[in-house]
């Protein structure tokens, strides 16, 4: 979305914040060539979460493909990419990395396997603790919050990676307050700000974009984020969401 705005010339171009070089390699990869936006952090749009009353570490699903397995029939849930903001990057990664056909057949197999699609991630979390489903592709801060609340769930970071939702900061081209906007972006990219967000913020489970910031202690050390290319995801957003919505309604 933001990438499309940048391409349409609606964002301030070619401005580099002071901490540009202090960003992580993952964050640097996300910066577009015209420098219209900068990542402030990234979090897993989905990790695998399971109810520990139903499975243990050995029986729980471990890869995305596992979710389509016959033994998880009718017990898997996820959020609707057309409604929940983080669910689109999750779906988009499959479409870009595996190709449209493979991705379509993956999600079709999930749906044939009785996938529950909920409007947003909190609904998925509720269904997971309420017993309606036993495993889910759930956004990471929702997942860790459940665990912190003492709910019987555990989190798995698939080895192939968890599709990420990257948060970015951009400046409107025509704004009357360019200096204030630039100062705010600098503030967001400042390691101290990001550390404060992690230590005291409400949505504290994410991978910081600045180096020298420590993520939450209980966030898995092997957390591997993968991401669909922003330009590609933006271009195909409409058709992918439409395809998903049409399949889910069947």
């Amino acid at each position: 979305m933001i990438d499309q705005l940048g391409k349409n010339g609606q964002l301030l171009e070619n401005w580099a914040p002071g901490n540009k070089d202090g960003l992580t390699d993952f964050a640097k990869q996300q910066i577009p060539a015209n420098g219209t936006y900068y990542p402030t952090g990234a979090h897993a749009a989905s990790v695998i979460v399971y109810n520990t009353k139903a499975y243990d570490a050995s029986t729980a699903p471990k890869t995305w493909a596992d979710l389509a397995a016959a033994k998880f029939k009718d017990v898997v849930g996820m959020a609707d990419p057309a409604v929940a903001a983080p669910a689109y990057p999750f779906v988009a990664w499959f479409f870009q990395s595996q190709g449209t056909e493979a991705a379509q057949s993956y999600f079709t197999s999930l749906m044939k396997n009785g996938l529950h699609v909920y409007p947003k991630n909190p609904n998925v979390a509720k269904a997971l603790t309420g017993g309606e489903i036993k495993a889910a592709a759930l956004q990471e801060s929702n997942a860790y919050t459940l665990k912190a609340q003492g709910e019987p769930v555990d989190i798995i970071w698939p080895e192939e990676g968890a599709p990420a939702s990257v948060r970015v900061a951009a400046i409107q081209k025509e704004t009357d307050h360019k200096d204030a906007a630039k100062a705010f972006v600098e503030f967001l990219l400042d390691p101290k700000t990001q550390q404060a967000l992690i230590d005291q913020g409400e949505e504290s489970y994410f991978e910081p974009s600045a180096t020298g910031v420590t993520p939450k202690q209980d966030r898995a050390a092997n957390a591997k984020l993968v991401v669909a290319e922003a330009a590609w995801a933006g271009e195909h957003e409409g058709e992918i969401k439409q395809w998903f919505a049409d399949q889910a309604v069947k």
Binding site: V83, K120, A127, E132, E237, K241, A245, D246, A248, V249
Partner: protein
Amino acid sequence: MLAILFLLILLPLAAVIIQVLLPGVFFGSLKIGDLSLLLDVFRRPLWYASLQNSVYLGIGTTLLATILGGALATVRARYTFATARLLDVSIWLLLVTPSFILAQGWVMFASADGLAASWFGWSGLTDLIFRPSGLVLVMTLSKFPLAYLAIFGAMEWRASRLSEAARMSGASPWTVWRTIEAPLLLPAICSGAMLVFMDTVGDFGLPASIATVFRFPTLPYSIYSALYTSPIRFDMAGALSFYLVVLITLAMTVQLLVMRKARFDVLSSRATKREVRKPRRGAWLFTLSNLVFLAVTLGIPLGSNVLMSVTDGAGSGVSGLTLTHYRTLFSEGSTLLSGLVHSLELASVAAVLSLVIGFLVAYVLTYSQFKLRRTLDVISLVSLAVPGIVLGIGYIFIWNQSWLESIGLLLYGTPWILVLAGVAGAIPVVTRMISGAMAQVPGQLLNAAQMQGASFHQRLLTILAPLTKGALLTAALTAFGSSIFDLAISSILYPPNYMTLPVVINKAFEDLKFGYAAAATLAGAGLVILIIVVLELIVRPARKQARGVSE
């Protein structure tokens, strides 16, 4: 006057339809629309499901609610029993309670870990309610008052001579009912059914609330989703709105055809007012079933809200009693407080504006010989039939055109668009209330004043307004109350950083903060009721005095 109504009501509606034919026209490009988008409703599974669900919900609810409303009205028109007044009050309460609040109550009650399951152990209820036929039931319980009031109104008077003549000729009571009384009620039943259908297919509150636990896309909900996902698809929202308008037009046509077949003006001076009597036996049965019925229709949704607002969650039981939710409502920087203030501001301005416009329209309808009187009346009625969600989209098409910016009228994204939409929604009701009161003020009074040299302005302010003061107040308060709780229009049109009360409540509900949403609902509704009561108390006594002087 005509221009104002045209701008507020007809233009947005026309815009929705024009936009389907010429999609770019409101965004600065002229091209003939791809009409295949309209046919997509039969190709795209999501759209087709939305259309099917809307039709199913509409027809199912219309049938069930008309039967239920008709049966209740029949009983209530004949008998009086211990708790009959309570039924009357509850019907009005259901009528004014927004559907999203009722539906939220049902979700809190019947969802998998809701009150029914955790307090009473009724886990089977979830599957019973959250299926299409269950939703028809929930919808019926919130829409039947429309049918009840329409049919009850027609039952107050009866042409008993006709029935008596039939009885004398040997017809059984059943035959009399079937061949005389029921056909005489047909117009009332039809208009009741019509009101239920229009209100149901256009309803946004129920599908929006149900969506948190059960996937049931309807046309209004899919229109909303088309606007609220990126990329935004105005064209799709327009195409779906088109079908919503088609459904409502179809229903109106059916009603017109039915009504045209016969004349129904059978009430003559011989008609008698129906006598309401106590049932001969089994009075307790009436009372009991009435109480049970009210406990389900009103008790479940409102009770669930009350209960959720004071507990930690459905499962916590009595030990979880808490006032935390209310405390967060009024804590500093709360979104509810700012939403409430916004809604109060918007509704006050909308109430005053619709009062002024409604007063003038009613004046024209009652006293003038204006040629287009009929047209005026029809336009104000149209806005009653157009669902809020369609009106909202029309408002985006009209008020979001870039050329408006140069004359400072780019109202989309400002609170003013909500005020205008609120006025448009309130005008039909306000106009009708005021014309009712004006009908009792003879035109001679105004003519006499005119002869004495009173200006138009003076006549309105010193004669008409004081004499219709009571109705004016009721009309203004109705406009105020209805625009405060309009979820559909404010969900579509609320400006950034300007959330309104229903939007705040619905967002909290979507995020599953049931306790907070319930507390916000009750606090908001409580405050609105308080304001209405206080205004009534301040203005009413003054009216009595004024009348005393004039006599």
